[in-house]
């Protein structure tokens, strides 16, 4: 190997600073959430305690955190499952290059670039004009799908663009029906990528704020609850909550990434190089 050039070290330093910029603030509030009971929102630390985490578990202290957490979790799982199923179907559909696919593609891009607050406002208006009550599991759920589906579909497009059609042809030559081909050939090959779609579906829903603002109804999701806290809570309990949510997100991400890695490894061991193009 040739020796590293000077520009490598300059760029590596830049990269390290960028990572510090990305994670530094999050680490800072993680440290500050262990403030002593008399501590404030910034350094110095006035002692070290679990006081603010303890506060999170007291119902009255900071609103309905656990209720909103369980709602966000449920909604995240609903959105995740729907996003995976619908994106796979959509991905399969676009391989057919059906009439009107161009129009649907434009709609998907529109859904991606439209300011979130418009979805929130529009869905809220529809529900109020029709006399329905907005609820996180109906209007909130639909609004979030307009954000997660485009990501899921774009990933599926990328996956199928790299998909080797000869596997399907082989299956069909051996007499597999359309459904059998999808079920036993296509789905196992794309399975690791579906973990990626699921990760997007869950986390984007779990953290979504703008699209649920006017569509969640009287029961808040966690990001709405946290937003409410930013305006009236001025103690490190805010940081404690932030740290807990971030740790939870990291755990979720880790589970998804490890699952994807294990699935990839299993495919490799099975001796097939299927899907190896879709890094």
């Amino acid at each position: 190997m040739e020796p590293r050039s000077r520009s490598f070290y300059v760029l590596a330093t830049f990269f390290a600073l960028f990572v510090l910029f990305l994670y530094g603030p999050t680490l800072t509030i993680a440290v500050l959430s262990f403030q002593g009971p008399s501590g404030g929102l910034t350094f110095p630390m006035r002692g070290v305690s679990l006081h603010w985490f303890h506060d999170l578990f007291e119902q009255q202290a900071v609103g309905d955190i656990w209720g909103s957490f369980s709602r966000s979790l449920t909604l995240g799982l609903m959105v995740m499952v729907t996003t995976v199923v619908v994106s796979v179907m959509g991905g399969l559909a676009f391989r057919k290059r059906f009439f009107g696919s161009g129009l649907v593609f434009q709609l998907i891009i529109t859904s991606l670039v439209i300011p979130s607050i418009l979805v929130s406002l529009g869905v809220g208006l529809i529900f109020s004009q029709l006399g329905f009550t907005v609820h996180w599991a109906t209007s909130g759920f639909g609004s979030q799908l307009t954000w997660t589906l485009p990501f899921g579909l774009l990933i599926m497009f990328a996956v199928f663009n790299r998909f080797d059609k000869s596997y399907e042809e082989a299956a069909r030559d051996q007499g597999a029906s359309n459904w059998q081909t999808v079920r036993h050939v296509v789905l196992p090959i794309i399975a690791p990528s579906l973990i990626g779609v699921a990760l997007f579906g869950f986390t984007l829903s779990y953290d979504e704020f703008a699209r649920t603002l006017l569509t969640a109804g009287s029961y808040n999701t966690l990001p709405l609850e946290i937003y409410g806290m930013t305006t009236n809570v001025t103690t490190p309990v805010l940081f404690a909550l932030g740290t807990m949510t971030t740790v939870f997100s990291f755990l979720v991400i880790a589970v998804f990434l490890i699952t994807a890695k294990l699935m990839n490894r299993r495919q490799d061991r099975a001796g097939s190089d299927a899907g190896s193009g879709s890094v």
């Binding site: 603030p25 999050t26 959509g90």
Partner: protein, 287 residues
């Protein structure tokens, strides 16, 4: 009949129908309703169906509107320039200076993980840094750069743009890295063999081939910044405004028709911007 059932278009539409239903109910219909309501009138307590240009007259007649739109563009342009510069450098390092695929993927994931965590928390986490008694001020004072705390760090345009860059640089890194990874390395070797310097390779080979990734990143960053209201609200401490905040303020006052009119103008602005940007890139080809 059988042939018809097996036709591409029918199967295609059967498979795409869930996507179509969601996008019609939660994207198209809401846009239509917003467009209709933007012509309605509002009292303090309710909104009244009507057809009046009142909301638009007010919107275009108010100097605030122009100032706020200008401010929105200002945020978009500055954030775009910064995220592009940082995002390109990071992607360039990952794609051309990190040598093994394992390290490339690991470092790439390190950059993407924050994307899957809460934006609001990531905004809040700047408070201990930027506050009057925050880390930045204490550090600057102890180094003797300043004598008293700087006030404009938190709750200012500076804080807003810092947060935008913090949140959205990822959207530049990912597509640019993706395009760079597809550049045929032999093109770069050919350029080097032909006597090109590193800077010439960067300028004449890599940047032109990375343009599609840059455009996709640009589309993401520009639309996210233009449609934002929450970052500006939290990071400026309600002292600055962009179009999103104009809309959310009207919603807060239950002035839905006026919010809808602003939303229509914002949507048109965003769509025109995207239409222009899409002239430079074919997204379907880049996936």
């Amino acid at each position: 009949m059988d042939r018809f059932l097996r036709s591409r278009t029918l199967t295609g539409w059967a498979l795409i129908s869930p996507v179509a239903v969601v996008l019609i109910c939660f994207l198209i219909l809401p846009i239509i309703v917003i467009a209709i309501v933007s012509f309605w009138q509002a009292t303090e307590f309710s909104i009244i169906p009507a057809f009046s240009w009142e909301n638009y007259d007010f919107l275009f007649g108010s100097p605030v509107t122009y100032r706020v739109f200008l401010n929105t563009f200002k945020y978009a342009v500055i954030t775009w320039a910064l995220t592009l510069a940082i995002g390109f450098t990071v992607a360039y390092f990952l794609a051309f200076h990190v040598r093994t695929l394992t390290w490339q993927i690991t470092l790439f994931l390190l950059c993407t993980i924050p994307f899957w965590t809460s934006n609001i928390i990531r905004m809040i986490s700047w408070i201990p840094f930027l506050g009057r008694n925050g880390i930045a001020n204490s550090a600057l004072m102890s180094w003797g750069v300043i004598d008293e705390p700087v006030e404009w760090l938190l709750f200012s345009d500076f804080a807003v743009i810092l947060a935008f860059v913090h949140l959205y640089t990822l959207f530049m890194v990912v597509p640019i890295f993706n395009t760079m990874m597809r550049i045929d390395k032999s093109l770069i070797e050919a350029a080097r063999d032909a006597g090109a310097t590193g800077a010439q390779i960067l300028w004449n080979v890599i940047i032109p081939l990375t343009k599609p990734g840059i455009m996709i990143g640009t589309i993401f960053v520009v639309t996210l910044v233009m449609g934002d209201f929450i970052t500006v609200r939290i990071m400026s401490g309600s002292q600055s405004a962009n179009v999103g905040r104009l809309i959310s303020n009207d919603i807060g006052l239950l002035q839905y028709p006026s919010a809808a009119a602003t939303a229509v103008v914002l949507l048109i602005t965003v769509l025109i911007t995207i239409a222009i940007l899409l002239r430079f890139v074919d997204i379907r080809k880049e996936l």
